[in-house]
Amino acid sequence: MNALALLGRYFGASMRSQMQYPASALMLTTGQLAATAIEIVSIWALFDRFGAVKGWSFGEVMFFYALIGISFSFADFLTRGFDVFGSDFVRTGAFDRLLLRPRSAALQLVGHDFRISRFGRFFQAAIILIIATGSLHFVWTPQAVLLALWTIAGGIAFFSALFVLQAVMAFWTVESLEAVNALTYGGVYAGQFPLSLYARWFRTFLIFIVPLACVAYFPVLAILGRSDPLGAPDWFLPLAPAAGFVFLALAFVAWRFGVSKYTSTGS
């Protein structure tokens, strides 16, 4: 069986098991929708009190908010196995079983679990995108749609890379992996706002070290047809999401190194 068909099997099994409890799946999804939707209320409150911020309107910030939310929801959906890698695979020794099977460990971890509830975040982000489109009178040209899909793809690669890196850390410590939340959930929060709001050191970090800006701020500028007030050249903006894939590739290099250093803890 080739890798894709195998992933399809994993996916089907995961869906069937969650649909054994349809009410629970629905409630968890709704819960995620409510939990993530509430953040927009605080952003709205800031705009309501202070008005536009450094030339950015609420509609534009909703645009950033929606695209980063959609990217994250898919990455979170696809990489659950890496997210729980430290606690469920390394600490218990269950990773040994994965290594014995004649398929790559990364593939099996992707297939480990697909949580339906992650679509709660997707739905709320999609709703915000519709509202943002209306409030900006934005016209979705085919070019804009393609650019948005490309941005989301880069975003999925970027956040997946963070979950993979969190799993890599688990080869050395299974404690305190929640520190990576600062980059994942913190990244979602930071990516909701235009980069020009941040201090220089933070902008540098988000462009060159953890390239969040390349999958959020720069391409969204291109979609909105604005040039970068910070001076990034216009031709660069639509190309920026490629950095997400480079980041993912580097994360897998680290992953291979981690696997080669793995020693079992299980009994």
Partner: protein
Amino acid sequence: MDALRPYAAAFSSRFLLMMQYRAAALAGFFTQCWFGAVHLMVIAAFYLGAPDAAAASPISLSQAITYTWLAQGLLAVMPWIGDPEIADGVRTGSISYDRLRPVDAYALWYVRAAGWMTARLLPRVALMILAAGLILPLIGQSQWAWQPPASLSAALLFALSETLAIALACAIIMLINIVVVATMNARGVNILMQPLVVIFTGNLLPLALYPDAMRIALFVQPFAGTLDIPNRIYFGALTGQMAWVGIGLQVFWTVLFIALGRLWLARVMRRLEVQGG
């Protein structure tokens, strides 16, 4: 005093156990610094971009910055989830032992939750004071720093109000615990609590920054007592009579939730279903 001994022991054993998780405290601290920094930059951008609205704002930028550090440093007080030990006990069936102990179950669980909370609170808040209160001014970034309390009386009132905040948060955690015991599942209620806590405590954004029309409603709702009221007492936005009104509200909600929790737990315990084995 002998009657109190089991509760003191339950508190200190949980406290000492949780204090062992030093790496977790350090990781939590870094995460909170990061979130604090991002929140600060966003709030400051709004304040600095609109000087008129900033002047009219009920709290100043420097107060909002101190608020943000307080919110991050006191994160462990927020009643996000029920006590995981209770949720575990429900899953494995071990809460039936609590039914057999010759102590008051509500009080026992309450002090255990208090031990769990304060042990996570103290190392994080100490590190946060060190970083945001001392190191930031020392490296010349005092405009971003966690400022000391507005006055001595504000500091004393804050100490009282923060103690009540912990008492109130534990009473809320007890209500969550009871839902967990009654529904035999922690996941649902924990997910529901998150959006409530993040907004209504002021954790995401100081409550004073929401539209003015909502001010009174946000002040009297119970979650304000876990973070917003002590914070505003701390930097002197709530003084004199209004400070005491805030403290009165904290006492009111704490007493009400404890009374409700006791009645409800007694009912739930009478027909307790036990799973596991």
